[in-house]
Assembly symmetry: C2
Homo-oligomer: 106 residues x 2
DNA sequence: CGTAATACATCGTATCACGAGGTATATGAT
DNA sequence: ATCATATACCTCGTGATACGATGTATTACG
């Protein structure tokens, strides 16, 4: 998938991945893989950005003698998802425009 | 609309705006305004990028004693629109994932 | 005992949208 | 006449950011 199209979807996907229950870096990447592929360096950049924006909180916990950083969504994070749903209407309108222009030539 | 979401949509919107008939900078911005707002500096960057990628060709013509640069879509440009339509399926799948995760909490 | 998987992190690079600023002509209002 | 607005083009600098490359450390498996 085109990299440019992924932008803007990535943040909200990561938020969606931790919405139901707290998760950690490696698991988020695996959970998202069927929908959108992202590298570790990209994910950690996003997680830090979302933390700065107070859309998630971080907590370090031990698991099998190893430290994991668990990420939990905040109200602002949930709000971002709601906002995305509203933006979706605009994206749909753009999509229809592209398709409509297309039909003029068929 | 979120800037990141616009990326990836912009190129294909510009291509769609010149698909039916050749157009020029100022007109493209006005035609796209109902769907997506973009500044002149952004548009000219995109037009150059699309020209480099051979998705459109440029021709200068006089109109009312003033020079205009008309942009015409190429086969590769049309191919890009077709590609976008295929990518749309992936975007839809991502959208459904975000919505699905959402419902678990309602 | 070495290879893969898990799990974290940083740095540099390339891409890109946009604001700010610049040039020039035509049109309409004062 | 003059000034503002619209048309029409362009460049430069900046900030945001996705990702490959690279590094560290532990666990699991064959």
């Amino acid at each position: 998938m085109d990299m440019q199209l992924k932008r803007g979807l990535l943040d909200v996907c990561v938020l969606a991945a931790i919405r139901s229950e707290d998760s950690y870096g490696y698991k988020i990447i695996k959970d998202l893989k069927p929908y959108i592929v992202l590298s570790e360096s990209t994910l950690y950049t996003i997680l830090k950005r979302l933390e700065s924006a107070e859309m998630l909180t971080v907590r370090t916990a031990e698991h099998d003698g190893r430290l994991r950083k668990y990420y939990r969504i905040t109200d602002m994070g949930r709000h971002r998802i709601e906002e995305f749903k509203r933006e979706w209407a605009e994206i749909l309108s753009i999509y229809r425009f592209v398709i409509k222009e297309d039909e003029k030539n068929d």
